[in-house]
Structures are given as structure tokens and as C-alpha cells.
């Protein structure tokens, strides 16, 4: 393997290869950092450019855009409370409060560094154990996917800060939204109100832009007319060294980072689930296992470490089934598959034997791009923060125009821009009523997976529900899901009784 890696490195490390990695990683970071322009869109726009290149150079370009794009999402999540990509939704929860405290540089530094570690971890896993992991992923059928999605949905209860009922309502609203459009399996039209546009369903990107970006602009507009509030937040860069956090702080996060990397990798491997799910799950697990869960959401680095390690670890994870089995896990990897196919290459086990230079060259390109991402984002930290010096009445409308470009460019239809407006209003209602957004996003991300796999599994079992319980992996996940629900209920009942007793005293 080392020999193959060395051959791959020799093929990538030429002036064109290095230049492509430098430029395309930067382009990916810019795309990722702008809410509305995702890593997927960046790959889609760069895909035609790769056609005229050799397969290795084309893939070098695309994986660089991918790695930069997933990581770049943290910048706007931390500085503006607007996730740059769906993968960095949970980064807002603690990243933005840190910025509000004047520790934006530290939050960015932590995010960038642990993004690097997350990606590195997953690339090493991809190189070392890809075939074994891919075989394991193949054992997952419809029953298992359904159970994993149900298990992940039970995390909604943990994501509900404050009122559990409000959290559950928010989560169900997310699932409700996934049922709009053509149903899986039989393509029955649902909740389309006679509109053909609604038939295609709601895409996550316009929903997220509306919920986070437009609603935030509306809330900002309420107070922006006051002169003392024209800047978003003051972030001092004076006296900040390196990444803005100490070695002790970094080392203190080792277990959180490792756990989140494993979560990100595992979720990334499973087709259909990716960074958009893993960042929320890693955040929830970090919160649940922390000795100070009440501090989550107030601006602590633990939250940023968990989400950024996990979503970047999903990058390598998603490439495992793609490169070893030819199965794309999400839209971004489907685009990468397209990048290989336009050169007449079909990913799978045979490709490792037939094109070792290409495959190992891609691995080397990923490692280099990850390093370049770290360096570029490190030197960009102060530039990103200086963006906050722009008055918000200028910055936010320009970001919104970019959001609309992203929403429109997604499917080239104006309908998606209307979705942004509608969800801007929903997001504003959520903010005003203090409803948690995270459960809704979780429900939205997983709702379709639950329904599709449930219906497919039931078709396989001829209507019997028993295999969900009797198949070992599926049964285990459902048991853990049931346990976690019971645990949360017991915990809440106890907390309620304690509060009642305290009130009585």
C-alpha cells in the first residue's frame, strides 16, 4: 500500500496538481462560507471544468472543492449564526455565542483545527480500512436504516432546550415537511395543493436559508436602525496567538473529538446520511455525555469541537462506499461519482486493481487539500473576522442576494426562492416564540429516510413488522432508541418532581 501511496503522491505532486489544490480548496472554503452556496453546488459548478483534465487532476480539483466546502461552512455559522452549509447547523449553537462573547477568533480557530483533525481521521480510515468498512455497510439493509434513523430521531428530545413539548413539536414539524411532494415508493402526490412545483418536495438548502439567514436578517432589522448597533459584534484580534486556544484546551477535548470523529465517520459511511446529520448527532451526544450539559448553547468550545470534527469526518466516510462499492452516499458524492464517470471510470473494488495510481492519487490529493485547508483558514481567520466590521445593514443584504443565487441555482427554478421567503417567516416565528430549531432540522433531515426505508422494508417482509426487531443490528438500534426515550422521560419526570418540591419549600 505504501508503494501505491508513493506512486499516487508522485502523480499529484506536480505544479498543476498543487496549484489546483491551492485554488480549489480556497474556492470550496468561499462557497462553504456563504450561506446558500453549499459544497454540493460548488462541485456541481466545477464538474464541467474537470472534463478537459486527466481523471486524476479532475478528481484532485473536485475533492479539494469538497473538503474546502464542508469546512468553510463553519465561518458564517460562527460569525453570523448562519450555517454556510447544512453540515454546520449545530456549529451555530455554541460558535455564535462565543463570537458574541468576543471570542470569535477562538471559536474559528477551534473549528478550523478540529475540522482538519476530523477530515484527517476519516481519510486515514478511508485509506486503511475502507474495504472492510464498506463490507460492513453492505450488511445494512432497509430494516437497519429505518432503525438507525428512528434511533437518531429520538435524539430530538435531547436537542430540546427548555420545553420538551416545544422540542417535539418542532421535530414533528420537520418530519411533516418531508412528507410534502411525491411520496416514496408509489409517488402519490401529497400536500402539493395542486402545484406541480411542490411535487418535487422541499429541498433542504432553501429551507435552511430561510430558517437561518432571512429570519436572522429580520431580527437584525428590528434593532439595526439604532446607531450603536450597526456592527454585528465586536471581535478583538489583539493578543490572539495561533488558533486562539491553548494546548491544554485542545488536549482537554481529545475524547470529545475522537468520539465525534467516530460518529461522523460511521454516519458518513451510511448512504443517505452525511455531515448534515452527523453534526447534530455528535453535538447531542457531546451534550448528553458532558458533565456540564447546561453550558451547551451558551458558548463553549465543546460544541464547536463536536460538530466540526463530526461533519468533516463524514467527508472521508462518505467516500468509502463511493470508492469501494461505487455507491454515492449523498448529493456531493454523487457529483464526485459523476466526475469519475465522465472519464469512463466506474468506481468499485476493481478500480483499486486497475487504476491504483488514480485511487491512491485521490487519497494523497485529499490529504494535501486538508492541509491546505488548515493553512488557508488559519491565515484567513483575521480576514473573516474583519468582515464583521462591515455595517450589518450592508453585509446582511449582500449575503441574502448570494443566498437567493444559491437557492435559485440549486434547480434553476424560482420556486425555491419563494421557499426561502416562506421559511424566513417560519424561522422568525420560531425565534419570537423561542422554539428550538435543531429538532426541526433533525426531523427534516431524517423524516424521508424513516419513511422510505420503512415502506421498502415492509415490502420485503410482506407487511410483517417483526424483522425490525428480530434482525440483530436493527433490533439493537431500536432497543437503544427505546432505552433513550425511557431514560429521557424518567430524567424529565424526576426534574419536574424536584422542581415541584423546591417550589413547595
Amino acid at each position: 500500500m505504501l508503494e501505491s501511496l508513493a506512486t499516487g503522491a508522485a502523480a499529484v505532486c506536480n505544479p498543476l496538481g498543487i496549484l489546483l489544490i491551492l485554488l480549489c480548496t480556497a474556492a470550496g472554503i468561499i462557497f462553504g462560507s456563504i450561506p446558500g452556496l453549499s459544497a454540493t453546488m460548488a462541485i456541481a459548478l466545477f464538474l464541467p471544468v474537470s472534463y478537459g483534465m486527466t481523471p486524476l487532476m479532475g478528481m484532485t480539483m473536485l475533492v479539494s472543492v469538497y473538503i474546502g466546502g464542508v469546512s468553510g461552512g463553519l465561518i458564517s455559522a460562527i460569525l453570523l449564526k448562519m450555517p454556510g452549509t447544512p453540515s454546520s447547523v449545530a456549529t451555530c449553537f455554541d460558535g455564535y455565542p462565543l463570537t458574541q462573547k468576543g471570542q470569535g477568533i477562538k471559536a474559528l480557530g477551534v473549528g478550523v483545527f478540529f475540522s482538519f483533525l476530523g477530515t484527517l481521521f476519516s481519510i486515514v480510515a478511508l485509506i486503511a480500512i475502507a474495504p472492510n468498512l464498506a463490507t460492513l455497510a453492505l450488511k445494512f439493509g432497509d430494516f437497519e436504516y429505518f432503525s438507525i434513523a428512528v434511533f437518531s430521531l429520538t435524539m430530538i428530545a435531547s436537542l430540546s432546550s427548555g420545553s420538551m413539548v416545544k422540542g417535539l413539536l418542532s421535530g414533528f414539524l420537520g418530519v411533516l415537511l418531508t412528507t410534502v411532494g411525491m411520496a416514496p415508493i408509489d409517488a402519490a402526490a401529497r400536500f402539493t395543493f395542486g402545484s406541480t412545483q411542490m411535487g418535487a418536495g422541499l429541498d433542504i438548502l432553501p429551507v435552511l436559508i430561510g430558517m437561518f439567514a432571512l429570519s436572522e436578517i429580520m431580527v437584525t432589522a428590528e434593532t439595526s436602525a439604532k446607531k450603536d448597533r450597526t456592527q454585528i459584534v465586536q471581535v478583538s484580534t489583539r493578543g490572539v496567538k495561533g488558533f486562539g486556544f491553548s494546548v491544554a484546551e485542545g488536549l482537554g477535548q481529545w475524547w470529545n473529538a475522537l468520539r465525534s470523529a467516530l460518529i461522523g465517520l460511521a454516519i458518513g459511511i451510511l448512504p443517505g446520511l452525511g455531515g448534515s446529520t452527523s453534526n447534530l448527532i455528535a453535538y447531542t451526544v457531546a451534550k448528553n455525555q458532558s458533565s456540564y450539559p447546561e453550558k451547551f448553547g451558551t458558548g463553549i468550545i465543546d460544541g464547536v469541537v463536536a460538530t466540526e470534527t463530526a461533519n468533516n469526518a463524514s467527508v472521508g466516510g462518505a467516500l468509502i462506499p463511493l470508492l469501494t462499492l461505487g455507491i454515492p452516499g449523498d448529493m456531493a458524492t454523487a457529483m464526485l461519482l459523476g466526475g469519475l464517470m465522465i472519464h469512463g471510470l466506474q468506481p468499485g473494488p476493481l478500480l483499486f486493481q486497475e487504476q491504483p495510481v488514480l485511487m491512491y492519487g485521490i487519497f494523497i490529493a485529499m490529504l494535501l487539500s486538508n492541509l491546505v485547508m488548515l493553512i488557508e483558514e488559519f491565515f484567513g481567520l483575521r480576514i473573516f473576522v474583519s468582515l464583521l466590521k462591515t455595517p450589518k445593514y450592508i453585509l446582511l443584504p449582500i449575503i441574502f442576494v448570494l443566498c437567493i443565487v444559491g437557492a435559485f441555482g440549486l434547480n434553476n427554478r424560482v420556486f425555491d426562492t419563494y421557499v426561502v421567503i416562506a421559511f424566513g417567516l417560519v424561522g422568525y416565528i420560531f425565534i419570537k416564540l423561542h422554539l428550538p430549531v435543531a429538532p426541526m432540522i433533525m426531523g427534516f433531515v431524517l423524516g424521508e429516510t424513516v419513511e422510505t426505508y420503512m415502506r421498502r422494508a415492509l415490502m420485503n417482509s410482506k407487511g410483517s413488522w417483526m424483522p425490525f426487531l428480530t434482525r440483530p443490528i436493527s433490533g439493537a438500534f431500536l432497543a437503544i432508541a427505546a432505552f433513550s426515550v425511557v431514560y429521557i422521560i424518567v430524567k424529565n419526570v424526576r426534574a419536574y418532581r424536584r422542581q415541584k418540591q423546591n417550589n413547595a419549600l
Partner: protein, 164 residues
């Protein structure tokens, strides 16, 4: 602030309204026999759970209201009063922007939107429409060049089709 006082009630009412509209559409879903459970199965579960939770939310709002009344009402802290009008203007400006996006084209609608939105959000003493117009033209030109010319993203030309 008044909204805070009615937050729990409004939450329950909002979700109950969503559930009622949603549930009213469930009978219209075409039932097929391809799969053991049809396409109305999950929506029905969602509607039942959401409806029940919305009612629980309304009950909790009622209970809290009764408790607050028994305690003689709590004093609300005086908050910095938000200017809701500007939020509504922002939403309206954004809506008009997307409505004009195709007929006027990306360039003109975006310049118009940016100039108006900046004027809506800026403090009175910093409101300089000409400056905003200039910033908008530059910003839109840069975005258009990058996406349309650089990355071949098809943005609506509108009235400027054939000119740009």
C-alpha cells in the same frame, strides 16, 4: 413585552393550526396497494402526534396562566422594544425581490433589492441612498461576473436579456 406573555398560547395555536391544515389534506392522498403501508400512513401518525402535542402545549399554557394569575401576575422586565415594522418591511422587500427576480432579471432586481433593504435597515443618520445604490451596483456586478461568467450559472436575464 406582550408577545412573551402569550408565547405558550401562540405556540400551541400555531402548531394546532398547522396540524389542522395538514390533516385536512390527508384524505386527498391517493392510496395505492404497492406497499403494505400506503402514503397516508406517516402523515396520519405525524398529524395525530402533532395535534396531541399542540393540545398539551395549550393545556400547559392554560396551567401556567392560572398559576401566574394565582401568584398575582409577574412583573415583566422592560426590554429593549424591537421595531417589528422593520422586520415586516424586510420580509416584504425580500418577497418583492423574488417576485421580480425572473421578470426584471437578476441584475436589476438585486440592485433594487439591495438599495431598498440597506435603506430599511440603516439608521436614519447613515441612510444615504446614492451610496447604497453604488455599493449595490458593485456587489451585483461582482456576483454576476463570478457566477454567470465565471461558473456558467444561468441567472435570469429578465429585461436585460441580450444586453448582458
Amino acid at each position: 413585552m406582550k408577545l412573551k406573555k402569550y408565547e405558550d398560547w401562540l405556540t400551541g395555536a400555531f402548531f394546532l393550526a398547522v396540524t389542522l391544515v395538514y390533516a385536512s389534506q390527508i384524505p386527498l392522498i391517493k392510496r395505492t396497494k404497492i406497499s403494505p403501508v400506503n402514503s397516508a400512513f406517516l402523515p396520519t401518525i405525524v398529524a395525530i402526534c402533532m395535534g396531541a402535542l399542540a393540545l398539551v402545549q395549550l393545556y400547559m399554557a392554560f396551567r401556567n396562566w392560572k398559576q401566574a394569575k394565582a401568584a398575582g401576575g409577574t412583573q415583566e422586565k422592560a426590554e429593549d422594544s424591537p421595531d417589528y415594522r422593520r422586520a415586516v418591511y424586510t420580509l416584504a422587500t425580500a418577497l418583492i425581490y423574488v417576485m421580480l427576480f425572473k421578470p426584471l432579471g437578476f441584475v436589476l432586481s438585486s440592485i433594487l433589492y439591495l438599495t431598498v433593504q440597506m435603506s430599511v435597515m440603516a439608521p436614519k443618520e447613515e441612510r444615504r441612498p446614492l451610496r447604497f445604490l453604488l455599493i449595490s451596483v458593485i456587489a451585483v456586478a461582482v456576483i454576476y461576473l463570478i457566477f454567470h461568467n465565471g461558473l456558467s450559472l444561468l441567472l435570469p436575464g429578465g429585461v436585460l436579456t441580450g444586453i448582458l
